[in-house]
């Protein structure tokens, strides 16, 4: 292990440039540790975003050596090439400054995919009984652990080609609700995830599944949505 890392960090907005820093190499060092060192010890004007540092909040995702990653749980050991790192903001999102991407469009798309749970029961009603073994519950379970980090969105080539595309995370969220027996807004949601800018635009490149730090498969959920909207369209229910 060399004593230092040569780190290129994106500075400025969309028309910014990389600036190089030398950072001491430490054991079990994460990429977020590297960025934090630069901000605290070298250049306090560096803007970046993080909160929990333990892979729960989804706020520290950046592009590391060309690939989107959650930086708090990405060890330098795994990604540095010859002691070098290049760190940039997430792709497919506007850059606010330095390593901070504007996440508004990303989360607005969750709303456009009708990612909100809409129940029909009141507190006077009994609980809906859902068997943990039911097929729908298992499908929802497989997709539910998304932390909203935006890594899949940055990895997606369809988003890059078609900025209107809802993207893997919003569609994955919709898929969990399509499988939720308690939800009362199913037909509207299926309409929201059908069409050229939604599930049907997915080319199944699987970059989202490859990069998801939580090892989810948005691709599988999107395939499920494609089946569901196709069925609804053929039955005249879309």
């Amino acid at each position: 292990m060399s004593a230092t890392l040569q780190v290129r960090v994106w500075r400025g907005g969309a028309r910014g440039a990389y600036r190089e820093y030398e950072v001491p190499r430490r054991e079990s060092q994460t990429v977020l540790d590297v960025v934090t060192h630069i901000q605290r010890a070298i250049d306090p004007t560096l803007a970046y975003r993080y909160a929990c540092r333990v892979g729960m909040c989804g706020s520290c995702a950046m592009t590391v050596n060309g690939a989107p990653r959650w930086t708090c749980r990405t060890h330098v050991d795994k990604v540095a090439r010859d002691g070098r790192l290049a760190i940039a903001p997430l792709r497919n999102l506007p850059v606010i400054r330095d390593l901070v991407a504007d996440m508004r469009e990303f989360f607005d798309k969750w709303a456009r995919a009708q990612g909100q749970f809409k129940g029909a029961r009141t507190r006077a009603d009994d609980f809906e009984r859902i068997s943990p073994d039911s097929e729908a519950r298992r499908r929802a379970d497989a997709a539910i652990e998304c932390i909203g980090c935006g890594v899949c969105y940055a990895a997606c080539d369809v988003v890059a080609a078609n900025p209107g595309y809802l993207g893997p995370a919003a569609l994955n969220r919709a898929w969990t609700l399509v499988n939720d027996a308690r939800d009362a807004a199913q037909s509207g949601r299926l309409r929201a995830v059908a069409g050229d800018d939604a599930s049907l635009a997915c080319h199944t490149h699987m970059s989202c599944t490859e990069r998801c730090p939580k090892a989810l498969s948005p691709t599988a959920g999107i395939a499920g949505l494609k089946r569901a909207v196709s069925r609804a369209a053929l039955q005249g229910k879309l």
Binding site: A161, N162, A194, L200, V229, S230, A233, L234, L238
Partner: protein
């Protein structure tokens, strides 16, 4: 275009792809068989002319192409050129008609 219409186009493209998968295999196998047997163009035409089965097969093949290719191009034009809307769709309907017309002309030339 409505979301239902967009979805039905998507279904039509997948369904036509399934048909094309079979058609291409039969077509290639037939070519390889015919070439190995040393058949001349005239001999092939003698076998295909007036043959209802080949006529039906290649009609299905041509129609599947006419459905499949323009829908695929629709996505290519949107993603690569950012071209959407009615003008694009009108052009693609024209392209579908052209493909079907040229294909059916070829079918009638070999079989009709």
């Amino acid at each position: 275009m409505s979301r239902r219409a967009e979805t039905l186009l998507w279904v039509a493209q997948r369904a036509s792809a399934a048909v094309l998968g079979v058609c291409v295999l039969v077509h290639l196998a037939t070519i390889i068989y015919a070439v190995q047997g040393g058949l001349t163009g005239a001999e092939i035409l003698a076998r295909t002319r007036g043959n209802g089965a080949w006529s039906a097969f290649y009609t299905v093949f041509v129609l599947a192409v006419a459905v499949h290719a323009p829908i695929g191009l629709r996505a290519v034009l949107a993603e690569w050129l950012g071209w959407r809307g009615r003008a694009r769709d009108f052009l693609l309907v024209s392209f579908a008609v052209l493909l079907a017309g040229m294909g059916m002309q070829a079918v009638s030339g070999v079989i009709g």
